[in-house]
């Protein structure tokens, strides 16, 4: 497997609403996990429903808290350029906010887009 430096492979699935991208992304994640891969699934959709495809019951899926907004901290470097950095290391974020799903895919929910104050 090629790709990034230490062997991890980041696959993004995109498409129009209703195209079936969530079914493909979620089923793909589970198939890979059933083969023994360590899989993290990120629901980046503002209308999240990846949890159901990953096999979580609806009631449980609705209780998943999205990643807190303040996980990103704005930094200004000496040249005055502003950027966002993560407050915690990614593996810490996964440990803290990741939700276990039936096939051991770890789910992270980015959350519904609430444009008020979102910049």
């Amino acid at each position: 497997m090629g790709g990034s430096v230490n062997g991890g492979h980041r696959v993004a699935v995109c498409g129009k609403g209703g195209s079936g991208k969530t079914t493909i992304a979620g089923t793909l994640a589970r198939v890979l996990a059933r083969r023994g891969r360590h899989v993290v699934a990120i629901d980046g959709d503002s209308n999240p429903n990846l949890a159901l495809t990953l096999g979580l019951p609806r009631a449980e899926a609705q209780r998943i808290p999205p990643l807190p907004r303040d996980l990103l901290v704005e930094r200004t470097d000496p040249s005055g350029e502003r950027s966002y950095v993560l407050r915690e290391p990614p593996d810490e974020i996964i440990r803290t906010y990741g939700v276990h799903t039936p096939d051991n895919v770890m789910l992270l929910l980015m959350g519904r887009v609430d444009h008020a104050g979102a910049g």
């Binding site: 090629g2 980046g44 290391p89 593996d91 444009h115």
Partner: protein, 144 residues
Amino acid sequence: MCRTHATVRRVLGELVAGGDDMTVVDMEAGLEHLSRGTTRASDTMLVVAEPYFKSLETARRAYELAKELGIPRVFVVANKSRGPRDEEAIRTFCERNHLDLLAAVSFDDTVLEAELGGAAVLDVNAQASSVMQIQRLADLITAL
């Protein structure tokens, strides 16, 4: 920049450093996240397209944007194809527009059944045609 998108990119960009084997991201519907560069941190982008012109056109634009952003591997995955005629239409569109078609997942009633029941297709029927085809897609992705 919308903070949700910034978070996706950050987490995605650094996840690999955490030693995770595979990361699969269900992106925001539409093209907005692409123009914002949210997906720049991906190694592979799968653009899901249905066999009708509007969907294929949207897929073409997403594909081209992803290429422009420098994502190393970009593929079309056809979905909900209802037979040879649909598959041919998708193949022709991809050839004409120089889009790399990786796999096709057929229309599958089990997916509808699962959606109606608020369940996952894999749990409704692990032998469903769509599941088998996604398993082949997984083979292809693992082999990249």
